[in-house]
């Protein structure tokens, strides 16, 4: 992960001159994935010894980098890469069960801003692919069976809409508070229930839809030439 991020940062720095705008953001993320909820709810339902229930995947933190191509038009194009992290931990007698979800998104973005009409407001529509890796840890160590860490991957497509407002801090440097709504209608995740509830297709489908809302702060480096 660290390597990927450093490569990307280098890439962004090198290509900064060709960009209209480079952007990094940090945000809080709220997630709703119905089928993953079902798997966790079934886990809690089926294990009465668990007094502290396993929380649903709900709150996460997200970081993302975007690169917007130079264009004289109000509507610009760009690419986005983001990483989010969610976890669900329940500590009970003799067992501390931790589920860690790493979420990656790679998307094509359309950025619209019109300084005259919209003041500092901008809107972005993002279309892309997402993928995730879910890991289970038990009692502070990886839950290993058959010599491998219990894990599940997912892949899907999603669309999101982001609205932010530029606040100029320095010549080329802006910040913007933003909100973002994302919807992934189909995320293929055949093994998620295996990791969460240790069953397959008992409580959930092998795919889920995911609804995401985000609130955060973006940091922009604008090339005003």
């Amino acid at each position: 992960m660290k390597n990927i991020l450093s490569i990307l940062i280098c890439f962004f720095c090198i290509t900064k001159i060709h960009a209209q705008e480079l952007k990094g953001d940090l945000s809080y993320q709220y997630m709703y994935a119905k089928q993953w909820d079902k798997a966790i709810q079934t886990y809690n339902f089926s294990r009465p010894t668990i007094t502290n229930k396993q929380p649903l995947f709900m709150h996460g933190a997200s970081i993302s980098l975007s690169y917007i191509f130079k264009s004289p038009k109000h509507l610009k194009h760009g690419i986005l890469l983001s990483y989010s992290n969610f976890y669900s931990k329940a500590t009970n007698l003799n067992s501390s069960n931790l589920l860690v979800l790493h979420f990656m998104k790679l998307g094509y973005l359309m950025h619209y801003e019109n300084t005259e009409k919209m003041k500092g407001l901008y809107i972005e529509a993002i279309f892309g692919a997402n993928s995730s890796a879910l890991y289970r840890n038990l009692n502070q160590s990886a839950f290993i069976y058959d010599d491998t860490h219990s894990k599940a991957f997912s892949i899907g497509a999603e669309a999101s809409l982001k609205i932010g407002y530029y606040i100029k801090l320095k010549n080329n440097f802006y910040i913007s508070p933003f909100v973002c709504f994302a919807y992934a209608p189909y995320v293929y995740s055949p093994n998620t229930e295996v990791v969460i509830n240790q069953t397959k297709s008992l409580s959930s489908k092998n795919w889920t839809s995911i609804l995401n809302t985000q609130i955060g702060m973006a940091f922009h480096f604008k090339n005003n030439q």
Partner: protein, 448 residues
């Protein structure tokens, strides 16, 4: 609108736009489901095996009234133990935890139960010799990439070049699934193996599987179990379901979970009013369950290998002492399918024991008879309320398990290892999964 106002309104709108749906979603989302049921009716569970007991355990945790009717004089079904035969307790039925990635594996962690990895070595009885490896790797049968045909595992093995000299090895593989190689479907056997998610390592309980259930599941529901109650009829034609036992005693319930072995459902032991649909009875008939037994042979010396695969009387022997704390030399003969049917036909425990000793004498130059002390035969085929080992998938079975497991009229629910749809049939945790699944289905039906 000036700039400041614009910022103010747009941020209020955006934050509100995000927080309102999030707060709404959060309020609707609960970590646990079906906790606040208002159901005040009664559930009757038929069969106190792993499935029935686990269903009871869940109902108890939800505060729902229930009773478990069990035909035999003990609970546990295909979980059982014998003490005193060796200086450690023996599992009469289920013994190994097949992988840790399952609900029982979880409970084992939570209850700090001692289990040991069984990584014992195998020897093969092949062409009248004990060998460490086979000339051809039999596991190749499981690595075929093209479509596996829905033919018997025996025919498939022959088709793949494992001829008559491999017959007992093939029988051993089928025996793992409690079946005769001539009846189990190669397609299903291989597909189920591929979809197996629980883990490949086998673990043994330092005590017994039965003890584990007894201590952690049965403790809280013991008073709900009625033993020696053989259910004969189930009448679900009216609002309340009426159950009659062999003593003509009547029980009424709002919902019934049937958790008896598939052999019992295939027979006419339990009469349903109205009669079950043909699709249901056909589905039952397509699910296989062959003969199965365990014979414990006690010896004065440990002359045998940890596992002996491929005998013609018994295709799988295992050193029982592995994973146990004790000194008794006990060899387990794990006999399934046609081999179990053949031994059952011998008619007596001593005839069964002699047949096994004879085979072991052949393998180990007469050492078996020379050091034999005693035997314990647990024949599940002749147990009147079990009648076999565990369910397996037959040739042409299709979606029989799915049809068999469907509930009827939101009143009758089907649990038990044979009703497991996610590849965990034949196991204790698979049975437990169906137990909680059916309680979930029942509560979901109530809330809908």
């Amino acid at each position: 609108m000036n700039r400041l106002k614009f910022i103010k309104y747009s941020s209020i709108l955006s934050i509100g736009g995000m927080l309102i749906p999030s707060a709404f979603l959060s309020a609707c989302r609960k970590e646990s489901i079906l906790d606040d049921t208002s159901f005040t009716g009664k559930v009757i569970i038929i069969g106190a095996g792993a499935a029935g007991l686990y269903a009871g355990y869940i109902l108890k945790s939800k505060g729902i009234d229930f009773q478990i009717l069990e035909a035999s004089d003990t609970y546990g079904g295909r979980l059982g133990k014998v003490e005193g035969f060796a200086d450690y307790p023996l599992d009469l039925g289920a013994q190994w935890l097949h992988g840790q990635n399952n609900i029982i594996g979880d409970l084992i962690h939570q209850t700090n139960t001692k289990i040991t990895l069984d990584d014992s070595d195998e020897k093969f009885w092949f062409n009248n010799q004990l060998v460490n490896t086979l000339p051809k790797d039999i596991n190749a049968l499981f690595t075929r990439e093209e479509n596996v045909p829905d033919i018997s595992f025996k025919d498939f093995a022959i088709q793949e070049g494992f001829g008559s000299e491999y017959a007992n090895i093939v029988e051993n593989i089928a025996g793992d699934s409690g079946a005769a190689a001539s009846r189990i479907s190669a397609y299903w056997k291989i597909t189920e193996e591929e979809n197996w998610i629980s883990g490949d390592e086998d673990f043994k309980f330092q005590e017994t599987y039965f003890d584990f259930f007894d201590k952690h599941i049965v403790t809280s529901i013991r008073e709900h179990i009625s033993l020696n109650t053989i259910v004969n009829t189930i009448d679900y034609s009216k609002d309340k379901i009426e159950i009659t036992d062999s003593n003509n005693l009547k029980y009424t319930a709002d919902k019934v979970i049937i958790a008896v072995p598939i052999t019992i459902l295939k027979s006419s032991d339990i009469t349903f009013t109205p009669a079950l649909a043909t699709s249901k009875t056909t589905a039952f008939s397509k699910i296989g369950m062959d003969a199965g037994m365990k014979v414990f042979l006690k010896f004065s010396t440990n002359f045998y290998d940890e596992n002996i695969i491929g005998g013609s009387i018994c295709a799988a022997y295992a050193d029982e002492k592995i994973g146990k704390t004790g000194n008794s030399n006990v060899l387990l003969a794990f006999i399934m399918g046609d081999q179990a049917a053949h031994l059952t036909s011998l008619g007596s425990d001593s005839a069964i024991t002699n047949a096994l000793l004879q085979e072991l004498d052949e393998m180990y130059d007469g050492q078996a008879t020379a050091s034999f002390i005693s035997s314990y035969v647990q024949n599940w085929t002749t147990k009147p309320f079990i009648r076999g080992a565990y369910s397996y998938s037959t040739v042409g079975m299709g979606d029989a398990r799915k049809i068999a497991a469907e509930s009827i009229d939101k009143k009758i629910y089907f649990a038990g290892e044979a009703m497991n749809l996610n590849g965990h049939h034949q196991t204790v945790f698979g049975a437990a999964e169906t137990g909680y699944r059916e309680v979930m289905n029942l509560l979901n039906d109530l809330s809908s």
